[in-house]
């Protein structure tokens, strides 16, 4: 290409790169803003014009993890001296800690439910993907089609009968209830993605192993699984993110005990002592793992969002 490139096209290239850089910066402003709000003093979060430079503090995170009341009068110097560092931060903001907030519990729910459902979906999904990849299944395409189409169902549509059934068998607001739903949600995804990965492993390895006297299951366990380790890891991370982010089912099926972070964080808006810096702190903690995972997954993103259909 270099030989045929002319001067105007080189300039055009420079301009394009420049525009890309500008656009990227604009694109990241919302994310930067939420991150920076999480470290602002309360008063600095809602100023006009917006505060860009400030002394970062962790008070929003302390507030996120605690329930507080307004101080009626200033604390005595002696009491202030004895207070722990986080208590001092809250005193400085004119408040007093009464107890811990439910945030940690909701966060923990999110972790448990996402991990268990990912594990279940991935296990079932990998077996099924192997089955579809290596054996003749009558009406294979129709079954795969059916499996993927379950993922396309709008949560609100499925939620109405499921809510009634869950209420009947006592699964409303339980970890198990959400785990079952998220397993179903991720299962179709795992089957499609893992089938793509397993299809890429040459069948000759297993055939050689079978000739050597491995059983079919051993061949799957000792040859195919290790070969698809990258695929399994990528699929696991994708499934985890899906379950981690899910909102609609969590909103309708849980209210307290098994509630996850996505419905909890917004519910803090307008509940008295919570302000935007605290919401931003919750959002920051919630989004941070997703950002890390996105970077880990960057080579597989295209595959993931197209259910393994497009590999590049």
């Amino acid at each position: 290409m270099a030989a045929v490139e002319s001067t105007p096209s080189r300039i055009l290239n420079k301009v394009a790169i420049f525009i890309v850089l500008i656009l990227t910066v604009i694109y990241l402003i919302p994310l930067y803003w939420i991150g920076s709000t999480a470290f602002k003093p309360r008063a600095a979060a809602t100023t006009v014009p917006p505060t860009v430079f400030y002394k970062p503090e962790v008070t929003p995170f302390v507030k996120l993890l605690t329930k507080r009341v307004q101080l009626r009068k200033a604390v005595s110097e002696e009491k202030y001296e004895q207070a722990k560092w986080y208590e001092k931060l809250v005193y400085d903001a004119g408040e007093r800690i009464i107890t811990s907030s439910p945030f940690l519990n909701r966060f923990w729910n999110s972790i448990i439910i996402a991990c268990v459902s990912t594990f279940l979906a991935l296990t079932l999904g990998t077996f099924t993907a192997y089955g579809f990849s290596r054996f003749k299944v009558k009406g294979e395409n129709d079954w795969l089609f059916f499996i993927l189409s379950t993922r396309m169902l709008p949560p609100v549509v499925v939620a109405i009968p499921i809510f009634l059934m869950f209420r009947h068998i006592g699964l409303v607001d339980t970890h198990l209830g959400l785990i079952l739903l998220y397993t179903a949600l991720n299962l179709s995804f795992c089957v499609w993605l893992m089938k793509g990965f397993i299809d890429e492993i040459p069948i000759e390895y297993e055939e050689a192993a079978l000739v050597d006297g491995y059983t079919r299951f051993e061949a799957f366990w000792k040859i195919v699984l290790p070969q698809s380790a990258t695929g399994i890891a990528a699929t696991a991370v994708f499934s985890f993110i899906t379950a981690w982010n899910e909102y609609a089912f969590a909103l309708m099926m849980t209210n307290r005990k098994a509630q996850t972070a996505p419905p909890f964080i917004p519910s803090q808006l307008g509940s008295g002592m919570i302000d935007w810096t605290t919401i931003a702190a919750g959002t920051f903690i919630f989004l941070f793992p997703v950002a890390i995972f996105t970077f880990l997954l960057r080579k597989h993103l295209l595959r993931g969002v197209t259910f393994g259909a497009i590999r590049k």
């Binding site: 079932l124 709008p154 397993t183 309708m252």
Partner: protein, 296 residues
């Protein structure tokens, strides 16, 4: 397989293994997804509220008849259609545009691409929540950067839908970009070289080489986003809850309101079925195109 057929097999037969591997998944999906749908199909023919304690009163297709005659349902579908058109066309323009710009050697291209892809990996609900902060009329960063003083976005019936669509465009343009980039980078370089030798104009090259070769992947992106936009619940529910008034009451929110706060269980099951048929229609087209892309 011929090599294995001759050997004496230990362990389970292939058929048993296959069934053991495939059947649990299918049974599980039928139990969690299909069985409930049968249940709601039955309830859709009843006048029934799940909180009243009264048994369902079977009324045939009256729920469907009422829904199809209800101007609010049509209004809601109209709002949804508007939303789908604004947000998908926005994503197509921004996503494909950025992909065209990115499709060259740029220092740090991988990192830039990944940074741009961050929004689409995030929770719709949480994104909606913090865009509410950005949209704040008096101290929001959006009004500040655009130089609009005290312009009301979220609680303004005229622009609330647009505000949600803009957030959706921010979040999902990267998806279109990702697929477009895959399509663009798969175009053989020699086609462009041949065009350059023939002194073809830029526009001609774009229209006759780039566009036709990217279209299959663009189509997949557009169909998928159309389906997702049609189903939108999280983003709009968090940002506006359907308001102000019914200005942003997308069909999924209408359904939620009917099913949960209002507890019109029978009627909402009927509406869910109407929605389901539309979604199955779009998703069939989508999976068909996906399979076509796979065969390439």
């Amino acid at each position: 397989m011929t090599a294995t057929a001759a050997t004496v097999r230990r362990g389970l037969s292939d058929l048993a293994i296959r069934n053991m591997f495939v059947v649990p998944t299918i049974v599980f999906l039928i139990l969690i997804n299909i069985f409930p749908l049968f249940y709601s199909l039955i309830l859709s023919f009843a006048d029934y509220s799940a909180v009243s304690g009264r048994p369902p009163n079977w009324i045939g297709i009256q729920n469907y008849r009422e829904l199809l005659r209800d101007p609010h349902v049509w209004e809601s579908l109209y709002i949804t259609l508007k939303y789908v058109i604004i947000s998908v066309s926005g994503q197509l323009v921004v996503g494909f545009g950025v992909a065209l710009l990115l499709n060259r050697s740029i220092p740090g291209k991988g990192t830039i691409t990944t940074l741009l892809l961050l929004p689409m990996m995030m929770s719709m609900a949480i994104v909606g929540l913090f865009w509410k902060l950005l949209y704040s009329p008096s101290w929001g960063i959006i009004n500040y950067l655009l130089g609009l003083q005290n312009f009301v976005w979220i609680s303004n019936a005229d622009v609330a839908l647009l505000a949600i669509a803009i957030t959706d465009i921010w979040m999902w343009s990267p998806f279109v970009m990702l697929l477009s980039l895959a399509g663009l980078s798969a175009i053989p370089k020699h086609l462009y070289e041949a065009a350059a030798i023939d002194r073809a104009s830029r526009w001609f090259t774009f229209r006759r080489i780039t566009l036709p070769l990217v279209t299959p992947l663009l189509l997949i992106a557009v169909i998928f986003r159309t389906m997702e936009a049609f189903k939108t619940f999280d983003l709009a529910f968090i940002m506006t809850g359907g308001g102000p008034g019914t200005a942003t009451e997308l069909i999924a929110i209408k359904l939620y309101n009917m099913a949960f706060p209002q507890w019109q269980t029978g009627k909402s099951c009927a509406l869910a079925y109407i929605l389901l048929i539309m979604i199955i229609g779009i998703s069939n087209i989508y999976i068909k195109y996906l399979n076509k892309a796979k065969e390439r």
